[in-house]
């Protein structure tokens, strides 16, 4: 990019909706945020005003309608980072590195929410803030591993080496994610506090409860992709500005 072209409007990349037609406009950041907001509000309204109160867990069960979708979305973030890691190692394309970093960061933000809401719900329904049961322990390990991802990134200065190490780390750390997800299903129920709510045969919920959960799940997933797209755009702009600054300096 020449110094002259930097000064042109839009030279640092098109505005979010510029030149987008058809389905690309549907995945634009403001559209994704609006759809996420609608779904999340609808999910809350259904959860609090339509879905019945759980007989055994009482009113605190209402935490489930956001807690479970946030947990699924945090694991989705780590899955996206795993895919981006594999793709980076195959292609060495810096865009995959950016995607990996942004999805791990978002995965960790959602993980923080899962831990906080989970502890509150744990105190309400089990009487303890924390228990070293399989799901909680493996999830905590995943969180610590992905915190390590950023420690690793901060310690390597050379860009390509940093991206390669980070991609490798994201691929290896992902081993813990299916373990966390299937811990409640594979291990004996007596050894854990987390119940298995949804199975292949039964949702474990009434129709309205499932509708509230499903809509909240859709909302959280849309919110994740809206934040991810936004973060990716910010990171790309940051890199472009650094490149231009470098060019102007030399």
């Amino acid at each position: 990019m020449s110094a002259e072209s930097v000064n042109q409007p839009g030279a640092l990349g098109p505005a979010p909706s510029d030149g987008k037609t058809g389905w690309r406009r549907l995945v634009d950041v403001p559209v994704l945020f609006a759809a996420a907001g609608l779904c999340l509000v609808a999910g809350l309204l259904l959860a609090f005003w339509v879905a019945p109160q759980d007989i055994s867990l009482g009113f605190s069960q209402k935490i489930f309608y956001y807690h479970a979708p946030i947990a699924e979305v945090s694991l989705l973030g780590f899955l996206v980072a795993f895919i981006a890691g594999v793709q980076y190692l195959r292609t060495k394309d810096a865009r995959w590195d950016r995607l990996g970093m942004c999805s791990v960061r978002l995965g960790l933000v959602f993980a923080l929410l899962v831990m906080a809401t989970g502890m509150i719900w744990g105190k309400a329904s089990w009487g303890v803030w924390w228990d070293w049961e399989p799901r909680l322990t493996t999830y905590l390990i995943a969180c610590l591993l992905y915190c390590g991802y950023f420690v690793l990134r901060a310690t390597v200065e050379e860009e390509e080496r940093r991206a390669t190490f980070a991609a490798l780390f994201a691929v290896i750390a992902f081993i813990d994610v299916p373990i966390t997800f299937f811990a409640t299903r594979v291990l004996p129920q007596q050894s854990q506090l987390h119940p298995v709510v949804i199975t292949a045969e039964d949702t474990g919920m009434t129709g309205t409860m499932f509708a509230a959960f499903f809509i909240s799940m859709a909302g959280m997933t849309l919110l994740f992709f809206a934040l991810l797209r936004n973060d990716l755009r910010v990171e790309r702009l940051k890199e472009e500005l650094a490149y231009i600054k470098n060019k102007l300096g030399s």
Binding site: A3, F59, I63, Y66, W121, L241, L248
Partner: protein, 52 residues
């Protein structure tokens, strides 16, 4: 557990969700405005060099 107690836990959980999401959005917005400021500075610098 009584309904009042349940309400406290639920309010705390949803309050934390809202607080974290708002904090993340503010952080993200601050990054965008820092980038915009930097882009404006660069633009001025390019103009200055073009005139010189």
């Amino acid at each position: 557990m009584s309904l009042e107690e349940g309400v406290k836990y639920v309010a705390a959980a949803y309050g934390i969700i809202l607080a974290v999401l708002v904090a993340y959005s503010v952080w993200s917005a601050r990054r965008v405005s820092a980038l915009e400021r930097e882009a404006r500075l660069l633009s001025t610098e390019v103009e200055r060099r073009a005139k010189a």
